[in-house]
Symmetry: C2
């Protein structure tokens, strides 16, 4: 019992040691677990529910803009990756190799999908003939494997993760470019409306972009430790892959042309960002839409009043469980206090405490997870109350994260200020655009350019590069990065 | 253009050479495609849409009975499979082996998930402590890899396929057994309501059951060639895996006990059964709920009337596309006849032909894919007409398949009759229950026992085994099997 009790306690504080806190909270809350395969994790019901909800909402929005789901093989022939790395310098993910199948050795090694460009574009080259076959707007929901991490961390740095892979092909660069805003708008909406996470949208620098892309855009999250975590991204690949995989079409004008392509992705890493952002020293704090259990009902009774309190609790539960995801915790062998700890650890947004006092006054006591605020609510008001409480909790989580982002985004014009602030948030600085200055700042401060935030680029005019003092071309977000 | 035209024609007839017909129809209809990896296929938008619809409907029904989705790693350590094969005789799927990752050789080989019992139950053994932790009713939607097929066939025998893996653990055998009906009822409903496929439910014989199970139940489909294709199944694994992976719980009575487990699955093979059952010499015939495009509108015009017909077609489309999945085929470079062929090949349930005559009479001509029947419908009746037409088409497909199943299920009591009928359907025969008779019939006729159909077992009473003449214990379905 004592060992069990410890399960729902954290020894690390978020403000003191966020790494240790994170490791404790995601496992102790039964959100995820380690598996027998190093670096690969188990999604328990709460984390999978959250991901599945994100997936379904994103998929719905993708479909509204004409994206079609498909599925491509899990394995990729080695020659495809070789071809890719010849055409796309710098792209060589560490992959898991299949060398044997059944009793025999394969004549060619197969990689477990690290990303699907090559296997998909091999098909595209056979499918695309005329302008009539374009645009292609395909998407896969899949798991991918990258053997990259020396120190894997569940959700944040996993050797297997789940994501969407959007892959499109257009007849013109203009059409291809127009997709970026559509997709990033969808991602931003998902982050805001489901994960309660704000982000900073902007272009990646050439040294930070996807190797195969002519331009990469990302949404970056600021974590409570002042470090930045990359969120969803969208890459304009131009004709790079089209040329490598010979994807040509006969255009209306009778000419054969290469297609223009994009890729984009959101992954289970977002769940890690969500945990880091909203969690506290009591455990997870889940945004209501992603909570598998939104409301837990905890009856409080002594032996005499037990049946009455339980009966009342059940009727409250029944009045709620058609509109909300509820759980009546009527386990006899645990005390109410124990149950509070457990459900707080698991991040359930609302707890309803129901004792004799509540039975007598035909009410419940509602406790919100995000602020801990208690309120007594009459039963006939409860449905309405919960609806607006869940909205409130979501908004509060988002606004708190947004305020943190805003108050930890610093605009500086001197390198000294940058050095002082790096590590405590995002440092927006004018930048000349040269790889050299970018590399020097990274070398000297440990901060990279997370992206070039779209909304403030006009401020670069007339400013000087934070490092070399030459004319600035961009406002760059410097930060330490996960 | 000619090569393209051929794409939507079939040279093989279903009634003459169903194997060749199948291969042509699934690829030419752009339902699926081959990939660069032998035995692994591409799900193009139409097949993925169908699978995703099945998946979502099944998942909804699973959730209603308390099943929770989770996700477990794609890779499984070799020692787990070794442990399994020590405990579960006869279970040794041909797997794909990871031996290298990144630049280094792994110290232990990892198998790509052929099924997840071992990796899941390793976690179960850590998660299950008390009766309070039970039941576990988990499910994964995943892709699995089995390197088993010398002659892979898309959907029917693929080295990678998509499926659900249900894995449950109960405190008692009674509870575990009670799950079977719940799950098989769900599968049967999905088959009937979505795939328009009937099936025969029954227990597998000991020689045909899953090696790890104490009892396996299946739903078997009869294909148009008289062969049987196994559909979804449910396995009672008793305490086999619990003992192998040490999954014990402290029961209410204070005793430590092993859990009782089940597994169950439905896979993308069902799409193959659907194609085989409903398709015809013009191509696919999709049940309306699984059709990504339910209605195609084909405008018919000459140069003079073009704009008027197109305008009218667009307004018809707009009146339908809120309630149905429609596509207006306004491609100028193809003739209406070409378009009819193409959409018939792709199995779109309803075609609306719209020419000057339809414009003038404020109507459309509706052609249903399953029977080819044409009907002129006034525009103000169209929504209602389409709703009932789609239902009609679904019912017709199901009833046709059911009639075929019923008329090709033969009840015999002599071995001569069995031998005559094997290959042309399901031959129901009394059977003594011995492995020997089962094996002998298989050896002599090529027919195996697909299952022991649940609904006719009472008929075994007083009958003699079809092979040995001893007292019959079961009615067995003998058939050739995919």
């Amino acid at each position: 019992m004592e060992a069990e009790q410890k399960k729902f306690l954290l020894t690390a504080k978020k403000s003191e040691n966020i790494t240790e806190w994170y490791t404790q909270v995601i496992v102790n809350s039964e959100f995820v677990d380690y598996s027998a395969v190093s670096g690969m994790m188990v999604y328990r019901p709460d984390s999978y529910f959250a991901w599945d909800t994100i997936k379904e909402a994103t998929d719905r929005m993708f479909k509204e803009v004409g994206v079609q789901d498909v599925y491509f093989p899990l394995f990729i022939p080695e020659r495809f990756l070789t071809k890719e790395s010849e055409h796309v310098k710098g792209f060589s993910p560490e992959v898991a190799w299949i060398t044997h199948a059944g009793q025999s050795e394969l004549s060619e090694r197969l990689a477990v999908r690290p990303t699907s460009e090559t296997i998909m574009y091999d098909s595209f080259s056979r499918w695309v003939r005329s302008w009539r076959d374009l645009p292609i707007k395909f998407n896969i929901w899949a798991s991918v494997v990258r053997w990259e991490f020396k120190h894997p961390t569940p959700l944040l740095r996993s050797r297997e993760f789940l994501w969407n892979e959007g892959h499109s092909a257009y007849a013109s660069l203009e059409e291809a470019e127009a997709e970026r805003k559509v997709i990033l708008d969808i991602y931003e909406k998902i982050l805001k409306d489901y994960l309660a996470l704000p982000g900073v949208r902007g272009r990646k620098t050439d040294s930070e972009k996807f190797a195969g892309a002519i331009a990469s855009y990302s949404i970056e999250h600021l974590m409570p430790d002042g470090w930045v975590l990359q969120g969803p991204d969208h890459h304009s690949d131009g004709q790079n892959f089209a040329k490598a995989f010979d994807i040509k079409f006969l255009d209306k004008d009778g000419a054969k042309k290469y297609v223009f392509q994009n890729t984009y992705a959101i992954s289970t890493r977002e769940l890690g960002a969500m945990v880091l952002t909203h969690g506290d020293d009591k455990g997870l704090v889940l945004p209501p839409k992603l909570a598998r259990i939104q409301i837990v009902l905890v009856p409080i009774y002594n032996d005499v009043k037990k049946e009455e309190v339980l009966r009342y609790s059940r009727s409250v539960n029944e009045s709620l469980n058609k509109s909300f995801r509820t759980y009546l915790d009527d386990r006899d062998e645990y005390s109410p206090g124990w149950k509070y700890n457990e459900w707080e650890m698991k991040g359930v947004p609302v707890r309803l405490e129901i004792g004799q006092r509540e039975v007598d006054s035909v009410s419940v006591t509602a406790v919100r997870r995000d602020t801990g605020k208690k309120e007594t609510v009459k039963l006939d008001q409860l449905g309405k109350f919960i609806t607006s409480l869940l909205e409130d909790i979501h908004t509060n989580l988002y606004m708190k994260a947004l305020k943190f982002l805003e108050s930890h985004t610093y605009s500086v014009s001197s390198y000294d200020d940058l050095k002082k602030l790096v590590g405590s948030g995002i440092v927006q600085s004018p930048w000349c655009g040269s790889d050299k200055c970018e590399a020097k700042v990274k070398e000297e401060t440990g901060a990279k350019i997370t992206n070039l935030p779209s909304d403030v680029q006009d401020k670069a005019v007339g400013q000087k590069c934070i490092y070399c003092g030459e004319e600035a071309k961009f406002i760059a977000n410097f930060a330490k990065s996960y």
